[in-house]
Amino acid sequence: MTAAIPTIAEAARQIAARSLSPVELMEACLGRAAAHEPALNAFIRLDAEAARAAARAAEARIMRDGPRGPLDGIPFAHKDIYETAGIPTTAHSRVLEHHVPAADAFTVRRLAEAGVISLGKLATHEFAFGGPSFDLPWPPARNPWNPDHMPAGSSSGTGAAVAAGMILGGTGSDTGGSIRGPAALCGIAGIKPTYGRCSRAGVLPLAQTLDHTGPLAWTVEDCAILLGAMAGHDPADPASADVPVPDFRGELGCGVKGLRIGFVRHFHEADNPVSAATLKGIEDAAAFFRAEGAEVGDVTLPSLAEFNACGWIILLSEAFAVHEAWMRRDAQMYGELLRDRLVLGGLLTAADYLAAQKKRLELTARTAAAVAGCDLLLTAAQPGEAPRIDAVPKWAFLEKPNFTIPFNVTGWPGLTLCTGYGEGGLPVAMQLVGKPWSEPTLFRAGDHYERAMPWRGRRPALLDG
């Protein structure tokens, strides 16, 4: 049954060959959503009838004119911080429970032009920072590999819905790891592109100098396809870079021979030691890359603690600035978790913020110098399997440094992908990181690994039930 869920690339080929109907593809996704959404809470808003109507219209157009490209007719959904014209965009918060945007976000528009069909809006941690929370108008998303566990966040609904086959891809945002974390704990793929690669215009902010938009999907190749539709200069986002958009699939199939991969061993062995299964997955990946002709050697970056201090001071400061007026008017509108976290940002000073921004330049320069001879970096994405959803401490981000925020601080692209399963049967993952604007090489290495491994043939067991 689970083998019937195609990747975006497979579905695109079949739709182009007219051997797969977009209507049937949509019905299959809606069927999985109907069966599993009650246990997973991946969606805040699921509009099956609108999705069916759009699939019928797409099918008629494709039959008449052929597909626009590989995303035409693909079941998809947006994290509920992406603004959608005429459709509520709540940030999973009581604060914006009745917010109906007048216009689509830039990336929503680009993806719609490419032909994706939206099933609805996906759960998130409140304003991409507060979760998992049980005191919001909607329940938190759960992990399809075991619904007693969290899917990570903040792109929690996207991770859950992709892994469960309710959609073939979806949008996420990443300020400290919110694309790469759910991709890791849900056993899928997710890319945080280079800062400035994708517009954030029309996406509710968490911390503007760290915020990135990007896709999550079942495979690395699918992420490359989606990023191709999302990327591009947008004058409405001051951080958007006016750089050429490459063919993100252009290097797929080229192997890894000759690539120089820096192994950031101290991140996951010393700075924040990972589980045995996570460590094995990363070590096995390093051995695989070596066997395939890549040069893999240890590199030493600034410590995770340094990156986390810098990243969290910036994130907390900027997040409080976004929410200051709402917090002062009625902080009780927020869930407890986000409300308490936001308070920390209100207590920081301008000097704290500027010291952190200055530290950011220093950390980025030290990182660039340390990896001057590398094409890619390899380390962990998460410390282990997903924890139980009812056992996530409010202050987890202060207790141990995370593996993903270093590359929000530098703005470098990071790709997370599955490396197997842990003792609890939930996925574990690795993180590959590239130099700025090197996403095609990142996809090349990730895709090469993924195709050689068996992980893409296995879906969460609940889909077999």
């Binding site: 001071i313 907390l316 902080a331 308070v343 207590l347 500027l354 010291a355 921004q357 530290k359």
Partner: protein, 72 residues
């Protein structure tokens, strides 16, 4: 790690931020404030080999700089 400020000093920080918190919430946040203080110190720690209070460090261009260079 425990915070190195008193409850009164913490109350002053909250007042400056314009936030009024119930006692329980205030105590919970104060309990973790030490971790934030460690971060405040970390971002002020100079890089390896740099003098902590040098003129060069003090006069280094801030990261957040207003510029009209693009309009010239």
């Amino acid at each position: 790690m425990p915070p190195t400020i008193t409850e009164a000093e913490f109350a002053a920080l909250l007042a400056r931020a314009g936030l009024t918190l119930p006692a329980g919430q205030r105590a919970g946040i104060l309990a973790v404030w030490g971790a934030v203080q460690a971060m405040q110190a970390a971002v002020r720690t100079p890089p390896p080999g740099a003098a902590p209070l040098s003129a060069a460090a003090a006069s280094a261009e801030p990261a957040v700089t207003y510029s009209l260079a693009g309009d010239a």
